[in-house]
């Protein structure tokens, strides 16, 4: 601290605590909602303190399923979300690593053309090209499966740029030493480049896992088969299924379950998360 101003410090703490409270308030309400039963829900006002039905609701969500006909287990939806998140994060990292490697370490015809082609993807978020992309996926017969869910989302300019940046900071001498030691391109990639950039890979993985898990519109369009639903879009389906009298206690339980994995990732790997966020967005 630079000077002693207890008042300013107290003011700061007050603002921060208020901020934390405002940020946390919706989650508290979610938790409270998820811990009461169907009878308590429609009674006004809603409780502000948790009830005793949390584990019963949890069991209901997993075993009996949620949604209109209760055929939808949250477990399956979470599993689908997990597969989707892992495939998107893994796929993006894999193809970005390879193309960044080619662009930085090789000089070949059309190199810049490829570079700009990848760059273009930065400018085309899925939301603005959703209809024609959907048609392509439908024509390729990729509806209702993991490939359709993930492959169209795994081209990534930001990840490629980030790895390009990382590779450019790897000293040239490392490559030269490896060449003198007898390593070919793929050897160098596997033995030197990957281990050297492992924290960057981990940081990016954290960001991309959250990105993948939270996909909403795309799965909504690609999956019509209930066994392929992901949890984030499942919530929407639940809201829709019970337009008149939503089962709020189960919806809140599902909502809670939908955010727990990515939130745990952010909090548990905070350092990597911050590194990933500030590096990819540069």
């Amino acid at each position: 601290m630079i000077e002693k101003r207890p008042l300013a410090t107290w003011f700061s703490h007050t603002v921060l605590i208020l901020g934390v409270a405002v940020v946390a308030f919706p989650i508290w309400i979610t938790f409270v909602g998820a811990s009461h039963d169907a009878i308590r829900m429609p009674q006004v006002p809603l409780p502000l303190l948790p009830g005793d039905q949390f584990f019963i609701n949890l069991k209901a969500a997993f075993v009996e399923g949620v949604g209109n006909a209760k055929e939808q287990s949250v477990g399956i939806m979470m599993f689908n979300s997990l597969i989707m998140a892992l495939m998107i994060a893994g796929g993006k990292i894999a193809i970005s690593l390879l193309s960044a490697f080619a662009i930085v370490y090789f000089r070949f015809p059309f190199r810049m053309i490829f570079f700009w082609m990848i760059f273009i993807t930065l400018m085309l978020p899925v939301e603005v090209r959703i209809l024609p992309t959907f048609e392509v996926v439908a024509n390729l017969g990729m509806l209702n499966n993991y490939w359709g869910l993930t492959v169209p989302l795994i081209a990534s300019a930001t990840a490629t740029f980030m790895f390009r940046q990382v590779f450019l900071t790897v000293p040239d001498e490392l490559l030269e030493a490896a060449r003198i030691d007898g390593a070919g391109p793929m050897r160098f990639f596997k033995d030197i480049l990957l281990p050297v950039s492992r924290t960057n890979i981990a940081a990016l993985f954290v960001i991309l896992f959250i990105y993948g898990w939270n996909q909403y519109l795309w799965p909504l369009l690609i999956t019509t088969d209930k066994s392929m639903y992901t949890i984030v879009m499942g919530i929407k389906q639940m809201l829709e299924a019970a337009e008149e009298a939503p089962e709020w206690h189960l919806i809140m339980m599902t909502t809670l379950l939908a955010m727990i994995p990515p939130v745990l990732v952010v909090i548990g790997m905070q350092k990597l998360f911050i590194k990933g966020l500030t590096e990819t967005e540069k």
Partner: protein
């Protein structure tokens, strides 16, 4: 751009970029060019006949009052979200940077909404503001204010602004805090010795020094509000009531998938792409400037 030493040219680099390029062509460049092409077609809803009409879809759009009001609404929505989330995040970051003890704890407690999907955020706020049983609408009723975002367009707009802002605060907070902590302590100390109190230091030293971060976040927030909030709108209001919350990206989706006006939707997509391209170029300009800085 490229290393001093590099591997000899061979088929290998082509194999390495192939997966990325294939996906880019199949799912980005081809659909985008299709969008451009379709935006010049007049197609009947069953896709049986189509007619090439050049820019008529665009002409139609620009003369469409509904489109114009959607555009205005999007600008209002984005400005509100950007302004609110940036201001709140700035306040929190400044105070978190000011306190000596607990900065990291506060950071942990403030960043996690980043991990919450927009649609999840929307659902939770919808529950809180549910006209019949929501806890906040109950209190509002208590003080004599009737809340029903299903009927009142302004309230619906307020709700999606709230949900979108809430989710974005953590992102902005993180970048602001990182920017502030990158300022050398000695600079702040020098200002304190010169006699500047905390508030004055903030406005004369810290705020000007983090202006690159602020600018970057402004662009990112506009992109976020323009595109990524589709989930929130879709889950919470479906653009209603009476199109009161229909923003551009939702209209593209709605006109294309629900209204089946393919040409019009495609033309809207192309306009959105132009907006993203403009924003990206602005952002890259900024990065170039930052390099000198």
């Amino acid at each position: 751009m490229i290393k001093r030493t590099h591997f000899k040219s061979s088929p290998l680099p082509y194999l390495l970029v192939a997966p990325q390029i294939l996906i880019t062509v199949a799912f980005f460049i081809w659909p985008a060019s299709q969008a451009v092409y379709q935006s010049m077609l007049l197609e009947d809803p069953f896709g049986l006949k189509s007619e090439f009409i050049w820019f008529e879809n665009y002409v139609l759009l620009f003369s469409d009052e509904i489109y114009f009001s959607t555009f205005l609404r999007t600008v209002v929505f984005s400005s509100l979200v950007a302004f609110l989330s940036l201001s709140i995040a700035l306040l929190l970051a400044a105070t978190a940077d000011h306190v000596v003890r607990g900065t990291r704890t506060y950071r942990t407690l403030l960043i996690w909404p980043y991990a919450v999907a927009p649609v999840v955020a929307g659902t939770i706020w919808m529950f809180i503001f549910d006209p019949t049983l929501g806890i906040v609408s109950y209190f509002l009723h208590g003080i004599g204010y009737e809340w029903n975002h299903r009927l009142n367009g302004n309230q619906a707009m307020a709700l999606i602004v709230l949900a979108a802002t809430w989710k974005q605060i953590s992102y902005n907070f993180l970048f602001f805090l990182a920017g502030m902590q990158a300022i050398p302590k000695s600079l702040i100390e020098a200002a304190a010795i010169d006699g500047a109190g905390p508030a004055r230091r903030f406005w004369t030293i810290i705020f000007p020094l983090i202006s690159p971060t602020t600018f970057f976040l402004m662009v990112m927030n506009i992109v976020y509000a323009f595109f990524e909030t589709l989930g929130i709108v879709h889950a919470v209001t479906k653009g209603g009531p009476a199109k009161a919350t229909e923003i551009l990206v939702y209209k593209v989706f709605n006109d294309g998938f629900i209204g089946l006006d393919l040409g019009g939707s495609a033309a809207q997509s192309v306009i959105l792409m132009l907006i993203v391209i403009t924003l990206t170029v602005i952002q890259f300009r900024y990065i170039e400037r930052k390099v000198e800085y």
